[in-house]
Amino acid sequence: MAHRILIVDDALFMRNMLRDIFVGAGYDVIGEAENGQEAVRQYQQLRPDLVTMDIVMPEYSGIEALQDILAFAPQARVLMCSALGQETMVMEALEKGACDFVIKPFQPQQVLEVVARVLN
């Protein structure tokens, strides 16, 4: 069975791009969320195998959402998405339990590589 992915990003463009990358590689994108709170709610409902989590989102940040998800499901696999120059935030997320990260702008090959090893 294909792995099920939840995409979290406040930009529709990014969500679409990621969706295309994942679907093209045979993954199942089972949900999209545009903010942290929505992400947590969807996670509880859908129980995806992987969440791609944008760090910088209005109101409820990706790091806060990460913490909520891990509090609910400690084994959850959350992959952080960040822009260049946000290394300290990425590290904070990794410290708090994110499994790995990808850097925007996305290079499909790189994203898939990271996703594959996280899911393995």
Partner: protein
């Protein structure tokens, strides 16, 4: 889980722990208040118990458990008495025999008889239920992981953190460079150096990290525990090699291949200049390779000296002497083949020091040190020493030398008399030194390795027995000599001097030819005669290799000298290996085979096995 694959590791580590226990017990006996040693002792027993139980060796685990329990009791008490140490040593002996059983795939012998008597009155451990919890832990080892990231990778700090997390999931991080906090605080790091305690192998870690394409360099190796090699030696002939060393081999092989092409093209173009240059390079590469390969064969002297504290302690107790043993230079490294051959000679020399050297109380020092490309191993005692006059008398009485020989014998030569078979200065046979094995066996063993035994002594000032050993047996320096148009090699360590003497200097002493050298009359032996070759034509100048056998200097007459060189000695295949006096063969640059002479053996052969010179 299939545990059989862990057996070798279990045995090697358990032997190591046992060895440490024996050493510690002897230490504690000398210093009963040393609580740190008691703690260490307890931990050793605990480790053995845990390993044995997880392997399912019930008797071994039970015994180790009992030892651990009683040690815990004494640890709380803060001291331990001598009688208990005897019992504990007996316990470690029994453990050693159990390990032998396991090694030989036999059923473990019963420990019931030993366990029936409590180690100390207050402690009686209940047999443990198997499997015990601590024991179900998988075998762990330490791995050193060094990695660097590609230059172009974004957010390298975060990447390192991800990798660190991955490693954490494999085991326990013992050390990390740079530290995690520093990575977190945002330093610009691209390298990570981690010591990991883990149950997975280096290859598995490598496999796990393979998916991280951002890693540009990865090096994983198991750090060499200082004594693990020694423990491994006791039972098997495997060695642990740092992967770093293997990398260097590959590197050198690569360079050799490059060199080969360079030589090839230089030869084709008849470019002598670059051919010469290439040959110079080849010489350097081969030397380097030799050096690296030697490292693999090297083991610390400790592997043979580690058992001495226990031995001396037991000998001292049975002979009612007070003996202090000091070990120096235990970290000096020697070829494993040499170390294996040294075990018995060393034990024998130490026994001699206890038996014949030290009268009531004294010190024995076993020290090792490097002297250029040789290793010196010395057993020194501050006991009664040897009296040259008494040695000469005894040798004459036993018919080993003639009174005339005794008269011209120097003091330093007289000490070598103890190496003659059938010579013993001990008025009676003692339990420790016994009869039969003597210094002659020690000397023969050392000389077989291409080494030399030196004995120095003075009455009331003790005795020093020094072994001068080559670093390695496989490659050694040899003197090539000509005899009847053939070349033979003599290990350089056996050559005291080469001489050209006038035939006029040769005198006859009875039936023997002798010559005067520094006012000493030394016997001359013809190598042609020994090898059953035709007599040479009479010459005015005679080439002599001054060597030493059976404690006496001997001049070996050869046709001429053909220089020194490093030779790679290969042992002779059967049935040639039965030929006495041949120590192996080597192939020279021109493809010819040259035999290596075993001086001691060849002179024995001359005497029909009767070693008198």
């Amino acid at each position: 889980m299939d545990m059989t694959k862990y057996k070798a590791m279990f045995l090697s580590e358990s032997r190591e722990h046992l060895q440490k226990m024996a050493t510690l017990l002897v230490e504690i006996e000398a210093n009963p208040q040393n609580s740190a040693s008691l703690d260490a002792l307890f931990r050793e027993a605990h480790s053995i118990k845990g390993m044995a139980a997880s392997m399912g060796y019930q008797q071994t685990a039970n015994l180790a458990h009992q030892l651990e329990d009683s040690l815990d009791h004494f640890r709380q008490l803060g001291q331990i008495d001598s009688a208990t140490i005897d019992r504990l040593l007996a316990g470690t002996d029994l453990l050693a025999r159990l390990l032998e059983d396991i090694h030989a795939d036999r059923t473990e012998r019963s420990t019931a008889a030993f366990l029936a008597v409590p180690i100390a009155a207050a402690t009686q451990a209940a047999p443990i239920a198997a499997p015990i919890s601590a024991a179900t832990l998988p075998q762990t080892s330490e791995q050193q992981i060094r990695l660097s990231l590609h230059e172009s990778i974004a957010a390298p700090g975060a990447r390192l953190l991800v990798l660190l997390k991955q490693l954490e999931s494999l085991g326990q991080i013992l050390a990390c460079q740079p530290e995690k906090n520093r990575i977190l605080s945002g330093g610009n790091y691209r390298k990570l150096d981690v010591r990991l305690k883990t149950s997975v192998t280096g290859a598995e870690i490598k496999e796990r990290l393979k998916v991280y394409s951002e890693i540009s360099q990865l090096d994983i190796q198991e750090p060499k525990p200082p004594t693990a090699l020694g423990a491994a030696m006791a039972g098997s002939t495997t060695v642990r090699i740092p992967t770093e060393l293997l990398d260097r081999f590959i590197h050198l092989t690569g360079e050799l291949m490059t060199n080969r092409y360079m030589l090839h093209s230089a030869a084709q173009q008849k470019n002598w200049l670059s051919l010469n240059e290439g040959l110079g390079q080849l010489a350097r590469l081969v030397k380097n390779l030799h050096h690296q390969v030697l490292k693999v064969r090297m083991m610390p002297v400790e592997t043979v000296t580690a058992r001495l504290p226990r031995l001396v302690r037991d000998l001292a107790r049975t002979s009612n002497k007070e003996i202090h043993l000091e070990l120096e230079g235990s970290g000096i490294e020697l070829d494993r083949a040499i170390l294996e051959e040294l075990t018995d000679p060393l034990v024998h020399m130490v026994r001699n020091a206890v038996d014949h050297g030290i009268e009531h109380r004294g010190t024995i020092v076993v020290r090792a040190w490097r002297q250029r490309d040789q290793v010196m191993l010395q057993v020194a005692d501050n006991g009664r020493g040897m009296d040259p006059q008494a040695l000469r008398r005894q040798a004459v009485n036993k018919g080993l030398i003639t009174p005339a020989q005794a008269q011209i014998m120097r003091d330093y030569e007289s000490f070598q008399l103890v190496c003659l078979p059938g010579f013993s200065t001990a008025p009676q046979v003692t339990a420790t030194s016994g009869r039969g094995v003597g210094m002659d066996v020690v000397k023969a063993a050392v000389e077989k390795l291409g080494g030399v035994l030196h004995i120095e002594s003075a009455p009331q000032q003790g005795t020093r027995m020094t072994l001068k050993l080559p670093l390695s047996v496989a490659i050694l320096k040899a003197l090539l000599v000509r005899v009847d148009e053939k070349l033979v090699a003599i290990p350089l360590t056996r050559v005291l001097q080469t001489l050209e003497i006038d035939s006029a200097q040769i005198q006859m002493s009875g039936k023997h030819r002798v010559f005067s050298h520094h006012e000493e009359l030394l016997p001359l032996v013809s190598l042609r005669k020994i090898l059953d070759l035709p007599n040479p034509q009479a010459a005015l100048q005679i080439s002599v290799v001054l060597t030493e056998a059976f404690g006496r200097k001997v001049g070996l007459v050869v046709d001429g000298f053909a220089g020194q060189r490093e030779v790679f000695v290969q042992s002779l295949p059967a049935p040639l290996d039965h030929l006495k006096g041949l120590g192996g063969g080597t192939i020279l640059g021109d493809g010819s085979i040259v035999f290596l002479l075993d001086i001691q053996g060849i002179l024995e052969r001359r005497r029909g096995g009767e070693p008198k010179v």
